[in-house]
C-alpha cells in the first residue's frame, strides 16, 4: 500500500499564514461562499461543457468516443505580471539557445569539438537524426512552435522541468479551458484583467503559411490518427486554423513534391504541421515499419518543395539527458547566464550521479529520456520498498536510459472536484511561437496540469487534469476588454474531402450493403427451410442458392457448400474466421467507420456499434443443436436487416452531406448492383432451360420464385408484372427496370447522380467515371433479352446469354477500378501530372 507523503513543497494559493494569497483572494472567496452543492453543480457544468465541446484526452483506446472528458478545474492558476515577465524572458532565452544548439549539432558540431558536451550524449541520442544533417529547415530554423514544462521549487522559484521544444502538445487544452471557464463562471473574469489567448491558432497559422513562397499555400496538419490520445487536439487545431487534418496515407510523393489526395484530385502541399514523431515520419528514412508516415517526405524537404514544422531532428533537444547541460548550452551560444533555472536533473548514465540517486531513490522521480512514462515517484506518494527495488534493478540494467528529478518540485494547489476542495500538485506547460524575425513569442497562458482524485500524476497521459491559466495584465497596460464573442469559433472554410475519408466511406457502404444482402438471404432460407418447403421444392431451390451465396472457406465445416444445412448457414452468419460471413463483413465495415470516426455522426456511430456489439455477443458454437443454430441465424440476420437500413437512414439525417457521405452511398449502390448482376448471371442456365426445355411450369416457378425471394424482389416482381415468373421479365426486372430498387441500371443511375451532385463536376476524373457508368447503362438497356433467351448454345461454348451477362458483369465490376482511379487513388489525374509539360 502506498502512503501519501508530505513533501515540503510550495503552496501556490495560500501564504505561510494559511490565508489565500492576495491574487487568489477574490476568486477564492467567491467559491468559498458558495454552498457545496452549487460548487458541485458548477463542476459538473464544466465537465459537461468540455464534453459538449468535444474535448477529450483518450488514454484508454477502448473508448472510441472519449468517455473521459477533459478535466478542468474551477479554480484557475494565476500568474502575476511580476512572475510572468521573467518567466517569459527565460523561456525565450532558452529557445534561442537551443535553436543555436540544433543548428550547430546538425552542422559544424562546434559544441562537441570544443568539449562542452560529451559527444556520446548528442550523437548517441536516439533522436539525433543523421538524415537531418544538411537538410533545409523552414525559414532556416528548427524550432517554430515549442512547449516547455515549468514547476515550482519549494522556495517558490520557477524552474524548467522538461523541454517539449520539438512537440508542443496541449495548446488546444489551454484554449478550451479558457472557453469552458468563461462559459461556466463568466463573472469571475470581471475580478481581474487577463491576457486573451484566443488568437493562438491564428498566430500558428500565420507562422505556418509564412514557410511557403506561394501566395495561397496549402497547409496541412499531419496526425497519427484517431488512436493518438491527443487526436482531439489535432482536430481542434485543424478546425480552428481551417487546414485539413491528414494522415500519412492521405499524402503521396510525386516528382519530388508532396500531394494531398482529395476526391477532386491531387493538391500540392506546401507546409506540413507535423504531430507525428520523426521516427515515424518517413519509412524510407526512419523506421521501416511505419505506416503513419509519408514515404519520400524527407526527400521532398531536401528538394525544398515542402516545409515541415518543426524541422526534422528537433526532437534531440527534448532529450532529458541534456537538461543538466542547459546552463552550459545557454552560456556557450548566447554568452549569457540563464534567466530561468533548470530543475536539478541527474542523468543516470553518469556514474557519480547514479550512485547518489540510487542511495536515496525515494526522493526522486525516475523518468526515461523521452515521453511521459514515470518509473518511480511523481504521484505524491512515498514509493514502497518493492517499487524501489524493482526500479533499481531496471535502472542498473541500462542506466543511460533514465534521469532523476527531485520529488518535491511540484507546487501544491487547491482544486475542486465533485464539489470538494482537494489538495493537488501541479506543473505548467508554456508554449512559444517563433516570429519571422527569429525571436520567440510566449503565449500569455499555459496548460496547468494538476493531479486529480483519480490520478496522482499531473501528466495528461497519466490521467492528470488541468486548470485554466491566467496571466494578469500589468498595471502599465490597459485591461483588455473581455469579449466573449472572440472566444467563439470562426467560420471554417470548407475544403475537399480527402481520398482516404472518401475511400473509407465507399467501403463502409459496400460492406454494409453486402452484409445486408447476405443477412437477407440467410434469413429467407431459414424461413423457407423451417416453415414452407417440401422436399421436392427443396431440391429445386438448393442449386440456385448454392450458386449465389458465398462459399465457406474454412475447414471447420464438412463441405464448402453447406448452405443447405443449418450449420452452414450459421457459419455464414457468425463465423468470424470465414471471410465472407455476415459478421466478418460487419467487422470490415466497422473498421472503415472507425477510421473516419471524426466525420461520422454520433447517432450513426451508435447504430453501427450497437449492431456489432449484438453480433459479437453471440457465443459462436456451430455444434449446438440444429434447431438452435437455425433460430439464432434467423434472428440475427433479421436484426442486421433492420439495423443496416437504420444506419443509412440515421446517417443521412445526421451527417454532413459532403463527398464523404456521397461515397458511402455510391459504395452501397455499386455493391447492390454487383450482387444483383452476379446472382442473375449465375442462374443463366436454369433460365435457358426453363424457357426452352419442357420443364414443368411449376418447377420453373419454384426455382425462379426462390431466386427472387433471395434477392428480396419477388413482391416487386409481382407488383411490376402481375404474372407468373418468366425468365424474360426476370431479366428485365433485375437488369434494366428503372424503378426496381435492385435493378442494375437503376443502381447505376443512382451512382451517376451522386457523382454529378458532387462539387467536382468539371474534373476530368468525374467525366471519366460518368462516361464509364453511362456507357454501361446504355449497354444494359440495349440488351435484347428475348433474342438472347431464344438463341441456343452451340456445342460446348457458352450460350450467348451467358456471354452477354458475363460481359456486363465484368464491366460492372470494372467500375470499381474506375471509381477508385478517378477519386480515391488518382490514377487518372496522375497520368496528366506525369506529362513532361507539367514537370518543372
Amino acid at each position: 500500500m502506498k502512503s501519501p507523503w508530505h513533501f515540503d513543497t510550495y503552496d501556490e494559493v495560500s501564504a505561510a499564514d494559511g490565508r489565500p494569497r492576495a491574487v487568489y483572494r477574490a476568486l477564492f472567496e467567491r467559491l468559498q461562499k458558495m454552498p457545496r452543492a452549487q460548487v458541485r453543480n458548477l463542476d459538473e457544468q464544466l465537465e459537461a461543457t468540455m464534453r459538449e465541446m468535444g474535448v477529450t484526452f483518450d488514454i484508454h483506446r477502448d473508448r472510441p468516443w472519449g468517455a473521459r472528458a477533459w478535466f478542468c478545474d474551477l479554480l484557475p492558476q494565476i500568474f502575476t505580471p511580476a512572475e510572468w515577465a521573467p518567466l517569459e524572458a527565460g523561456v525565450r532565452q532558452r529557445l534561442r539557445a537551443f535553436e543555436h544548439f540544433l543548428r550547430d549539432i546538425y552542422g559544424p558540431k562546434e559544441i562537441l569539438t570544443d568539449g562542452v558536451l560529451p559527444v556520446r550524449l548528442v550523437l548517441g541520442s536516439e533522436f539525433f537524426q543523421r538524415s537531418a544533417a544538411g537538410l533545409p529547415t523552414p525559414g532556416d530554423a528548427f524550432l517554430h512552435l515549442s512547449g516547455l514544462a515549468i514547476c515550482r521549487l519549494p522556495d517558490g522559484a520557477l524552474a524548467v522541468k522538461h523541454h517539449y521544444f520539438s512537440h508542443a502538445s496541449g495548446m488546444s487544452y489551454m484554449i478550451q479551458n479558457r472557453r469552458a471557464l468563461t462559459r461556466v463562471i463568466p463573472q469571475s473574469f470581471h475580478d481581474t484583467g487577463i491576457h486573451s489567448i484566443s488568437e493562438v491558432p491564428t498566430g500558428i497559422l500565420e507562422m505556418l503559411r509564412a514557410h511557403s513562397d506561394e501566395s495561397d499555400p496549402l497547409v496541412v496538419l499531419l496526425t497519427p490518427g484517431p488512436l493518438s490520445p491527443a487526436y482531439s487536439e489535432h482536430s481542434f487545431l485543424g478546425r480552428r486554423m481551417g487546414v485539413p487534418l491528414v494522415q500519412g496515407g492521405d499524402l503521396l510523393v510525386l516528382n519530388d513534391a508532396v500531394y494531398l489526395k482529395t476526391v477532386s484530385g491531387l493538391s500540392k502541399v506546401d507546409v506540413i504541421y507535423s504531430r507525428v514523431s520523426d521516427r515515424w515520419l518517413d519509412p524510407m528514412v526512419f523506421r521501416r515499419d511505419s505506416v503513419l508516415g509519408v514515404p519520400g517526405l524527407v526527400h521532398c524537404i531536401r528538394k525544398k518543395s515542402v516545409s515541415v514544422v518543426n524541422a526534422i531532428g528537433s526532437q534531440v533537444s527534448d532529450d532529458r539527458a541534456l537538461l543538466p547541460f542547459s546552463t552550459q548550452i545557454i552560456r556557450y551560444y548566447l554568452g549569457e547566464a540563464p534567466l530561468l533555472p533548470t530543475l536539478t536533473t541527474y542523468w543516470l548514465g553518469e556514474h557519480d550521479q547514479r550512485e547518489m540517486v540510487l542511495a536515496d531513490l525515494q526522493k526522486f522521480t525516475i523518468r526515461g529520456l523521452y515521453g511521459e512514462r514515470i518509473y518511480l515517484g511523481g504521484d505524491g506518494h512515498l514509493p514502497t520498498q518493492e517499487d524501489i527495488d524493482a526500479v533499481r534493478c531496471e535502472i542498473l540494467r541500462d542506466p543511460a536510459r533514465y534521469v532523476a528529478q527531485p520529488q518535491d518540485c511540484d507546487a501544491q494547489t487547491i482544486s475542486f472536484q465533485d464539489g470538494e476542495r482537494r489538495r493537488s500538485r501541479q506543473d505548467h506547460i508554456l508554449f512559444a511561437l517563433r516570429k519571422t524575425g527569429g525571436d520567440f513569442e510566449v503565449f500569455p497562458g499555459a496548460l496547468t496540469r494538476v493531479s486529480t482524485k483519480d490520478s496522482g500524476f499531473t501528466s495528461s497521459e497519466l490521467g492528470g487534469g488541468s486548470k485554466d491559466t491566467w496571466v494578469q495584465v500589468g498595471l502599465d497596460k490597459k485591461s483588455e476588454d473581455w469579449d466573449s464573442a472572440s472566444q467563439l469559433e470562426s467560420k471554417i472554410p470548407p475544403h475537399a474531402v480527402t481520398s482516404r475519408v472518401a475511400e473509407a466511406y465507399y467501403w463502409l457502404g459496400r460492406y454494409l450493403e453486402r452484409a445486408y444482402d447476405l443477412a437477407g438471404m440467410v434469413s429467407v432460407i431459414e424461413s423457407l427451410e423451417l416453415e414452407e418447403l417440401n422436399p421436392t421444392e427443396r431440391m429445386n431451390y438448393r442449386p440456385v442458392w448454392n450458386r449465389i451465396l458465398p462459399v465457406l472457406e474454412g475447414t471447420g465445416s464438412s463441405s464448402r457448400r453447406t448452405i443447405s444445412s443449418p450449420e452452414g448457414r450459421y457459419r455464414l452468419a457468425f463465423d468470424a474466421a470465414e471471410p465472407g460471413s455476415v459478421i466478418s463483413t460487419i467487422h470490415r465495415a466497422f473498421t472503415n467507420a472507425e477510421s473516419v470516426l471524426e466525420t461520422l455522426s454520433l447517432d450513426a456511430w451508435g447504430v453501427m456499434s450497437g449492431l456489432r456489439a449484438r453480433f459479437d455477443a453471440v457465443d459462436f458454437n456451430p455444434n449446438a443443436p440444429a434447431e438452435l443454430l437455425a433460430s439464432t441465424s434467423r434472428e440475427f440476420c433479421l436484426l442486421a436487416r433492420e439495423m443496416i437500413p437504420r444506419f443509412f437512414g440515421t446517417a443521412k439525417c445526421t451527417m454532413l452531406a459532403d463527398d464523404g457521405w456521397n461515397f458511402c452511398e455510391i459504395g452501397q449502390l455499386l455493391e447492390r448492383a454487383a450482387i444483383t448482376a452476379n446472382a442473375v448471371t449465375s442462374i443463366t442456365s436454369p433460365l435457358l432451360q426453363s424457357s426452352r426445355l419442357a420443364l414443368q411450369p411449376h418447377a420453373v416457378e419454384i426455382r425462379l420464385s426462390a431466386f427472387l425471394r433471395l434477392l428480396n424482389s419477388r413482391d416487386i416482381y409481382r407488383r411490376v408484372y402481375q404474372m407468373r415468373i418468366e425468365p424474360h421479365a426476370l431479366l428485365e426486372l433485375l437488369w434494366t427496370n428503372p424503378v426496381a430498387p435492385r435493378s442494375v441500371a437503376s443502381c447505376l443511375e443512382g451512382c451517376a447522380a451522386l457523382i454529378r451532385s458532387g462539387e467536382n463536376v468539371l474534373s476530368p476524373a468525374t467525366d471519366k467515371a460518368l462516361s464509364a457508368i453511362e456507357s454501361l447503362i446504355r449497354q444494359i438497356r440495349a440488351s435484347e433479352w428475348d433474342a438472347l433467351l431464344a438463341t441456343k448454345k452451340s456445342g460446348l461454348s457458352k450460350s450467348p446469354l451467358q456471354r452477354h451477362s458475363e460481359s456486363l458483369l465484368e464491366s460492372l465490376l470494372g467500375l470499381h477500378t474506375v471509381i477508385c482511379d478517378s477519386f480515391l487513388n488518382h490514377q487518372v489525374l496522375m497520368h496528366q501530372e506525369s506529362k513532361p509539360s507539367s514537370g518543372v
Binding site: L123, N255, D256, H299, N825
Partner: protein
C-alpha cells in the same frame, strides 16, 4: 582492370502496387582506386528521379511511382576501371593501442563508426575475439589480417542460410552466413576493440577472366551484391578487408555504398503500397573487358 557490371533488382508483386518508392545507392563514390567510365541507372516503369548525397557520403537516387504497376525493375549499368590499392603501411605498422589512441582524437567524424548498431552488437563473442585477436601491443596489420582469416576459417559461407533480419548472435552461434553476416561479424569485433570501421556494399568479380587460368579460385559473392569491411587507420585512411574471401580488397572489388552497417548501405530499398507482398529477384553480372592487344 576494366569491368562491365549489370545489376538488376526486380520486384514482382502479388497484386498490382498503387504506389512504390525506392531509394537506391548504386553510384560508386569518387575514389582513387577506381575510375567510372560510364554509369546509368534505369527504372522501369520510368519516372522522374532525383539524387542527393546521404550522411555517409553515398550518392542516393530517389524514385517514386504513383501509377498502378505490376512489377518494378532497377538496372544499374556500370563500366569502371579499377586500380591496385596501396595499403598505408605506416598506419598499419602501429600497435592496436596506438592506433586507438590516435583515432580517438578524430572526434565527431569517427564517433559513428565506433558505435554498436542493431546489426553489430559488441558484447559476447565479439568482445572475446576483440581481446584475443586485437591485443593492444599487436601491430594493427597483424591483428586485422588474423581477424580476417579467423572469420573466413571459422564461419562457413552458406548462401541462403540467413535473412536480413537474422540477429548477429545467431550467426555467432551457427558459425555460418553470407557475406553480409561475415562483414557484420567483423564490424562487431572491430567495434568491440574500439577501432572505427564501416560496412561496404559493392560488386566483386567472380568468374575468372581467363578460364585457362585454373589456378585462380572463383571468388564468393557473385550473382548478388557483395559486402565487406573498411577499417579506419591512423592518417584517417580507410583500408578494406574481405572476410568472405580472406583477402585485402583489390582490383576485383568495386565499392558502391558505405555506412555503419547493412541498413545504411542498402543498395535498393523500397516501400510499396497496394500490394500485400512482393518477390524480389536480384542479379549481378560483372564481366572483365580484356585489354586490347
Amino acid at each position: 582492370m576494366l569491368f562491365q557490371v549489370v545489376h538488376t533488382t526486380h520486384y514482382l508483386y502479388v497484386d498490382a502496387a498503387m504506389e512504390a518508392y525506392l531509394e537506391v545507392r548504386l553510384t560508386p563514390p569518387s575514389r582513387a582506386e577506381h575510375q567510372i567510365i560510364r554509369h546509368r541507372i534505369d527504372f522501369q516503369p520510368g519516372a522522374r528521379v532525383s539524387d542527393y548525397v546521404d550522411y555517409f557520403g553515398n550518392r542516393t537516387t530517389f524514385y517514386s511511382m504513383t501509377l498502378r504497376h505490376h512489377q518494378l525493375k532497377v538496372t544499374n549499368r556500370l563500366t569502371i576501371r579499377t586500380h591496385p590499392r596501396t595499403l598505408p603501411e605506416e598506419g598499419l605498422a602501429l600497435t592496436v593501442a596506438e592506433a586507438r589512441q590516435i583515432l580517438r582524437t578524430g572526434g565527431t567524424a569517427v564517433f559513428d563508426y565506433l558505435q554498436p548498431t542493431g546489426s553489430t552488437p559488441i558484447g559476447g563473442d565479439a568482445l572475446v575475439w576483440a581481446r584475443e585477436i586485437l591485443r593492444e601491443s599487436r601491430p594493427l596489420r597483424d591483428g586485422l589480417e588474423e581477424l580476417n582469416t579467423r572469420i573466413h576459417r571459422e564461419f562457413k559461407y552458406r548462401s541462403g542460410s540467413t535473412e536480413i533480419e537474422t540477429p548477429l548472435a545467431h550467426i555467432w552461434k551457427a558459425r555460418e552466413g553470407v557475406c553480409q553476416d561475415f562483414a557484420h561479424v567483423m564490424l562487431s569485433v572491430l567495434r568491440a576493440a574500439r577501432l572505427p570501421c564501416r560496412y561496404v556494399c559493392g560488386y566483386i568479380e567472380s568468374e575468372p577472366a581467363f578460364p585457362a587460368d585454373s589456378s585462380r579460385k572463383r571468388l564468393v559473392g557473385s550473382l548478388a551484391t557483395h559486402a565487406w569491411v573498411e577499417v579506419l587507420v591512423p592518417g584517417l585512411l580507410w583500408v578494406a578487408l574481405d572476410p568472405t574471401n580472406n583477402q585485402w580488397c583489390g582490383e576485383q572489388h568495386v565499392t558502391i555504398a558505405v555506412g555503419r552497417d547493412f541498413l545504411d548501405a542498402t543498395p535498393v530499398r523500397g516501400t510499396f503500397k497496394g500490394s500485400a507482398s512482393q518477390k524480389m529477384k536480384v542479379h549481378v553480372s560483372m564481366r572483365r573487358i580484356p585489354k586490347k592487344s
